[in-house]
Symmetry: C2
Subunit: 192 residues, 2 copies
DNA sequence: CTCGGTGGTGAACGCGCATTAACCTGACGC
DNA sequence: GCGTCAGGTTAATGCGCGTTCACCACCGAG
């Protein structure tokens, strides 16, 4: 909440967006700096005027989405009316985000190992907190669950939610959205 | 079913096993041929006495597990007593395999894009058939489901099942097995 | 004993690619 | 009009890595 800049997509953002799509399609190592530049209308080393390096782009996009996921997730939890509603809200938020940012989702769980050490740790922490957010609501709902079990269940639910951006979509987005959300909450309900 | 060789792990297999673990840990591009050799006790180019190249190793392991997954899956379906039992059997089989071969699972859905074109197609076909296996049983169970919907649901279920090999296991394997299986069938049951 | 093949070795090669260097251009404050 | 600075360009650099080469040692068959 510092300067609150408005929605003219700056050059950096445009680069990050096309990078996300390329990385999602062919993998971080599968796309060269030259290709990425070309896809942005400029070519090759010009990217270094905007980013210190290729890894830095990956880092910036992954850190930022992890932060966003966690921040909004937290907000939805405090806004929610009880643990059951919170679980539902988290699932809805995640599926909304995942369908709206498919490339980022696939990059996030395919290429996070290509991050520079420092950023990798940061993303790991954020992701872990995010999963714990769901796990703790789950445990509030079913106190008999052990912490590791709840964590595993939450992780599995996100696995379900994240699986679909990868697929070619022969199915309507709205239908897919509700399908995934329903499946996820049902799965979470089956954690006896 | 030709010569039916017995269980002395041949050198090729040992290499493939350690390769699977390394690939799973650091990604296909993240492990060099030299490292892989070193991990096998031999070093570097010696691998070329067993495989025509690095990609060939990946290809061999991915094709073989895809085939195994599909073959056993088919068998379990025909053996099963009705669609509901078939769904359950498929889920059980997959979770059993996934927990028994975690590295292969993570490699399979992280690194399949690094396959040589031909093998990539083959794996894609096998995987698609495998998903369709579950999808069709699901449709037999709930005829109101459209084909794309059933397919998406099946894929989501596998996403759930495949998500956990990635996790550090602070939870017992048996408990995890039943947890995942229950979550998966519950999710598949929520496909209204 | 010798000979061929299997599985190993370390050195060399070549390429792709991220990164850097050197240089250019146009917009703008002064 | 003129430095300067942001944003490009192409050419060079250097390195990591997959792959190939030339050579070696053991070993079982003849």
């Amino acid at each position: 909440m510092t300067t609150t800049e408005q929605a003219e997509p700056t050059r950096r953002e445009q680069i990050l967006a096309t990078a996300a799509e390329l990385f999602a399609a062919r993998g971080f190592h599968g796309v060269s700096v030259a290709e990425l530049g070309a896809a942005c209308g400029i070519s090759g080393p010009a990217l270094y005027k905007h980013f210190p390096g290729k890894q830095a782009m990956l880092a910036e996009m992954l850190v930022s989405i992890s932060e966003q996921l966690l921040a909004v997730g937290r907000e939805r939890v405090v806004t929610a009316d009880g643990p059951a509603a919170a679980v539902r809200a988290l699932v809805d938020w995640h599926v909304e985000f995942a369908l709206g940012h498919r490339p980022l989702i696939v990059v996030q769980d395919r290429d996070w190992e290509s991050l520079p050490e420092q950023a990798r740790e940061q993303v790991r922490r954020l992701q872990r907190s995010y999963v714990d957010l769901l796990a703790s609501q789950l445990r509030a709902l079913r106190p008999e669950l052990s912490k590791p079990t709840a964590h595993a269940a939450a992780q599995a639910a996100f696995g379900l939610l994240n699986s679909t951006p990868r697929a070619g979509h022969a199915i309507d987005d709205d239908e897919l959205r509700t399908l995934l959300a329903n499946m996820a909450v049902a799965a979470l309900g089956a954690t006896t």
